[in-house]
């Protein structure tokens, strides 16, 4: 009981997410073609995440990666970052806040198996507010697809 109580704050901390990513709409594509999906991302009010091109080499970028699956993952298109000035920084930082979308591009191999499948993505981010930063976290993105 005591051990459980002592662990609670840490479990609580690990459960905090400052970013949510909606599951994209089902992708339907023919073999040998290219396709793309939009992923809606939302950052908690009062927080920001570093953009995909942070202002400083020590900062951790927003990054979407896909586990190899039935589709070939391609470029991920990020929106134009905001340049925001914070209390803790001398110069504006390249960040994302609020709500925005990422576009993930895929190729359907000519030899892809027809039928349904799932691609699993990981969106890694590192969030801060105006006076604290939080360890990098990852949210899962689940893409359902249908190869025709």
């Amino acid at each position: 009981m005591l051990a459980a109580c002592l662990c609670l704050p840490s479990l609580w901390a690990q459960g905090n997410q400052y970013l949510t990513a909606e599951a994209p709409q089902k992708l339907v594509a023919k073999r040998g073609t290219s396709a793309e999906v939009k992923i809606a991302v939302s950052i908690q009010p009062g927080f920001h995440v570093n953009s995909n091109t942070p202002s400083d080499a020590y900062l951790i970028p927003l990054k979407l990666t896909w586990t190899p699956g039935g589709l070939e993952s391609g470029e991920v298109v990020f929106p134009k970052p905001q340049m925001e000035k914070y209390e803790f920084s001398d110069k504006p930082l390249s960040v994302f806040t609020g709500e925005f979308s990422l576009t993930a591009k895929f190729k359907v191999p000519a030899g892809a198996e027809q039928g349904p499948g799932i691609m699993l993505g990981k969106l890694r981010y590192q969030a801060c507010n105006n006076n604290s930063c939080f360890p990098p976290k990852t949210v899962e993105v689940r893409l359902s697809y249908q190869v025709q």
Binding site: L6, P9, S10, N131, P135
Partner: protein
Amino acid sequence: MSPVRLGAVLLTGFLLGCVIYGCSPTRVKAASLKPDGERHVAPDFALKDADGKTVRLSDYKGKVVLLDFWATYCGPCKIEIPWFMDFERKHKDQGFSVLGVSMDDDGWEAVKPFINDVGINYRVMVGNDTTAEKYGGIEALPTTFLIDRDGRIAAVHVGLASKSEIENGIEQLLQTPARASGNASRVSLPAEFVGAR
């Protein structure tokens, strides 16, 4: 209220303030230090520093310690680090040490270049989940603990703090001699106990 009575009330208030807070103009403001009875023992840890030497918090018993949980990706931490370097320079001969615990996932690969870039003059270790859990689960960085000469947590600052407030706390703790003997325990404390949340 008559002027005489008002004067008496103000004088009483002033004298009471002197009794509680002291009248010397050089006295350091108590800032946000916890009262003696509310301080809990800072959990001990053993972590390697950049030279591979083991650092134990219990080795610093009798000293005032500023324990800083930070990371290289943390902007607010980078504001505080030069302050802490300044504190280390100014107070190290009075029995004061800064210990930095980096929470970078990439460990020394990220931390060593940063130490060299900034020229950090105090001991830095790479922490882990176990260390963080001992301190109630460190989520926000920076989180800074001021530890008194008896190895007890006297103050916790979560997020970017005020330099003067931290320094006032250090100076206050340096003026207080150690009172107890005994070793820092190795228990883990929930965040509510260490005051980190």
